[in-house]
């Protein structure tokens, strides 16, 4: 039962990172251009799906509370400020999607909310992941780091890294969904983004070695972990080649694969801890009566339906979008 719910949680979180990742990335790219034509194309490349993407964040949040309440309580309270900023960012960008088309006078406000909200949300997510990897200060099963315990050079670095990663995913998505100038500029951007991301990975690695982070020990204990960077490297190569040959399909899948590999790396190096090196999955799990109550309805019936629904909405939305006809 515990295994089942860990898997559900992992799938929800991974889906959230992949799906909202690219649309947050597009939000960041949106802020980089002033051209209304391009902006509209970008919005229409995610308009029909972004809300569904964010559903996975709420799903992850509530499933975490219902199945691992101790982890939920610890993380939500430890990440008080970053969580607040992330939520404010997500709400602003969410309503900006709708309201920017309904006003001209105030459009600047919603545009700023869309780009700024996406950037802040992405940065805060990266920072929180960084703080988790570095290890949250926890004493007697409770967070003991104060208001800014999550803030460090390393976590900020991870925040920047995730923004880069999301932007790369966003650019790959634009290639897949758009034509013309938007697609061309995304192609131009990808080499720089990939290079920046590579530099980021090297810096993180060196930093982790220098600081002798506990996570690094995992790599020696569990050599099969090296499979993940290998997969990521192959994906990166395919991505580079297909960008060179201007093939629209593969870059996004490959970018997503890099993210899956990164997610897998984290998950396996944390295992069996949920909050690294202080709270394990078994310690955090809700009692059997809670997990079983959830399993027979939400887990067995509704969760597969949600997955199916997600797949279907992406199938309906496949192919290139034509901004002039699809979104006003």
């Amino acid at each position: 039962m515990v295994t089942f719910w860990v898997s559900v949680l992992a799938v929800s979180a991974l889906l959230y990172v992949l799906l909202d990742g690219f649309d947050l990335g597009i939000g960041i790219l949106f802020g980089l251009t002033r051209d209304e034509e391009r902006r509209r194309a970008m919005v229409s490349a995610v308009a029909p799906i972004w809300d569904g993407n964010e559903t996975w964040l709420v799903a992850t949040g509530v499933v975490l509370w219902g199945t691992f309440p101790i982890v939920y309580a610890t993380l939500m309270s430890a990440f008080y400020l970053p969580l607040l900023l992330m939520l404010a960012g997500l709400i602003l960008r969410g309503v900006a999607f709708e309201f920017r088309n309904k006003t001209q006078r105030m459009r600047w406000l919603w545009d700023a909310g869309f780009a700024g909200g996406s950037l802040v949300a992405a940065f805060m997510q990266g920072t929180m992941i960084g703080a988790l990897v570095e290890g949250l200060p926890i004493a007697h099963g409770e967070y003991a780091g104060g208001e800014f315990g999550w803030l460090s050079a390393f976590s900020v670095l991870c925040g920047v890294g995730l923004c880069l990663g999301y932007t790369l995913l966003g650019a790959c998505w634009l290639i897949r969904k758009c034509d013309g100038e938007v697609r061309a500029s995304a192609y131009r951007l990808i080499p720089y983004l990939s290079l920046a991301l590579l530099v980021f990975l090297v810096v993180v690695f060196v930093y982790a070695l220098a600081e002798n982070l506990q996570v690094m020990g995992r790599w020696l204990d569990r050599p099969y972990l090296f499979a993940f960077p290998l997969v990521a490297a192959v994906a990166a190569i395919v991505l580079t080649v297909s960008v060179r040959h201007r093939r629209d399909g593969p870059p996004f899948s490959m970018g997503a694969l890099v993210f899956v590999a990164a997610f897998g790396t984290l998950a396996v190096s944390f295992w069996p801890y949920m909050i690294p090196f202080s709270i394990t999955i078994q310690q955090a799990a809700a009692p059997h009566s809670s997990l079983a109550f959830l399993f027979w309805g939400a887990g067995l019936v509704v969760f597969p339906l949600m997955l199916l629904y997600t797949v279907m909405s992406y199938r309906v939305f496949r192919g290139k979008v034509h901004p002039s006809s699809t979104y006003h």
Partner: protein, 483 residues
């Protein structure tokens, strides 16, 4: 624990949840009414029903969307500000919230898609069925939320183990008698919200001399519905009072403004309670009525607030006044609904501009009643968060600082106010534009998961290209411009 952080956290929760409840209560009522409307359309084939349906479907979309957006915060702030509560009650409250999220996703998102796109693609009976399914989805959402809150009012079906509430009887939790009087009370409140907003809109159009056919349907259906539902609501309100009387006597004493034991008890209709001297000033009371309301008897003894230690009493002022405002709103609604229905039966309603004005101005009443009802229930539960077991003060995140709590309060207040302002202006513009003209064609970019996308009405008044155009033609004429 930082007591300022505690106060700010309570304020934040009160603010965000009060803000949030406005939208779901409106949309739950509206979609239920839309189901009735669609059934009438199917039965009578009168196109005007469809006209009204399509118009209110747009409003529903906006309200539904704002409810979803403002609800996201709820899933997270219980953990961030109330980490000890979420740690302890997670095994019970967590799963209830998972079911809420999952059923909402499964029923509302998928069938809402059919409401938007399916009119021409599915048979009429299936379209009606989809409307009913969306209504069922919102109703189930309300059920799970009420299950969650009712468990906090009257915790059942658990044992304490390792400092956690461990569920050992889900049937007791899901079918608790407290839940099954509170859930209908909330549902009826939502239906009344829908009914009064619809009737008020109808009255507004009639006063302006517009959209006559649609306005008459809105007005009469809204009023007839309210005329039946308000008495039913008063009955369920009474049942709620009974559970409070039996299970939360201290809350009951606070609501009644009863400081000391009385036998037989009088009923305080209005007063200015003075907590310092533990008496009521300028009280208007009715002898014996207190015993009748509390125990259905002429000589029962009713307990007063001073029977309980100070540390276990709720603050009296808020429940006392909030309850009276709620009941006052209910009585005004009853009067309006019955008077309106009576005049409407006699065919004289449309001549009575005074009553039309009153009905038009009555639309805030159900919202005020819902908010004050919740204030009564929640403030009256204090100082407990899980009644009788866990104090609110022990539920807060122990290390939360006033600084952090103030930051989040300010951020949420500003973000919510911004959205609220735009949302309300937007709904107002949709209502003002009215149901005239053609039927809504959703924009191609519109999708079920983005309810706000259904309507492409601009927020600002657009310069009219042709002096006299109906609003639908107007919409079409501006539709090609790059909004």
């Amino acid at each position: 624990m930082d007591s300022l952080a505690f106060l700010l956290s309570r304020l934040q929760f009160a603010f965000t949840i009060s803000f949030h409840i406005i939208f779901p209560s409106f949309s739950i009522g509206l979609i239920a009414w839309l189901t009735v409307l669609e059934a009438l359309h199917l039965a009578t084939r009168r196109p005007v029903y469809r006209q009204v349906f399509e118009f209110w479907l747009k409003i529903f979309s906006v309200a539904f969307g704002l409810g979803v957006v403002s609800g996201i915060v709820m899933a997270f702030q219980i953990g961030s500000n109330w980490s000890d509560l979420s740690r302890m009650s997670g095994p019970i409250q967590g799963p209830l919230l998972v079911y809420e999220t999952f059923t909402a996703f499964a029923l509302e998102a998928s069938f809402f898609g059919i409401l938007l796109f399916g009119r021409s693609r599915v048979p009429p009976w299936f379209y009606l069925f989809s409307t009913a399914m969306v209504a069922l989805g919102t109703t189930l959402s309300a059920y799970w939320i009420m299950a969650n809150n009712s468990w906090m009012q009257d915790p059942v079906g658990y044992v304490m183990r390792n400092g956690q509430f461990v569920p050992n009887d889900w049937v007791a939790i899901l079918f608790s008698p407290v839940l099954w009087v509170r859930f209908p009370h909330m549902l009826l409140a939502s239906y009344l919200t829908g009914a009064f907003c619809v009737a008020a809109t109808g009255a507004w159009y009639l006063l302006r001399g517009q959209f006559h056919a649609e306005a008459r349907i809105m007005l009469s259906m809204g009023l007839y519905l309210a005329a039946v539902l308000v008495p039913l609501q008063l009955f369920f309100g009474h049942l709620n009072g009974d559970y409070v009387h039996d299970r939360q006597p201290v809350k009951f004493a606070a609501i009644e403004g009863r400081w000391h034991d009385e036998q037989p008890a009088s009923e305080v209709l209005l007063a200015i309670p003075d907590p310092a001297s533990e008496t009521n000033k300028y009280a208007i009371t009715v002898p014996v009525l207190g015993s009748v309301i509390g125990s259905m008897s002429l000589h029962s003894k009713e307990v007063g607030l001073t029977d309980f230690p100070r540390a276990d009493r709720p603050p009296l002022i808020i429940p006392f006044f909030a309850f009276r405002i709620m009941v006052g709103c209910g009585l005004i609604m009853l009067l309006l609904a019955w008077l309106g229905t009576w005049l409407s039966r006699k065919g004289r309603l449309e001549q009575s501009r005074v009553l039309l004005w009153l009905i038009f101005l009555s639309f805030p009443l159900p919202f005020i009643a819902i908010l004050t009802g919740w204030f009564t229930a929640e403030v009256g539960r204090q100082p407990w968060v899980v009644y009788g077991v866990l104090r609110t003060a022990d539920a807060m995140t122990p290390f939360l600082t006033a600084h952090a709590a103030l930051t989040s309060l300010i951020v949420f207040c500003s973000v919510y106010t911004l959205i609220f302002a735009f949302g309300v202006v937007y709904i107002y513009r949709l209502l003002r534009a009215g149901p005239a003209g053609g039927l809504v064609e959703p924009t191609p970019g519109a999708v079920p998961q983005r309810p706000l996308s259904v309507v492409d009405e601009p927020l600002e008044p657009t310069p009219r290209l042709v002096p006299v155009v109906t609003s639908a033609a107007h919409r079409r004429s501006t539709g090609n411009q790059p909004w």
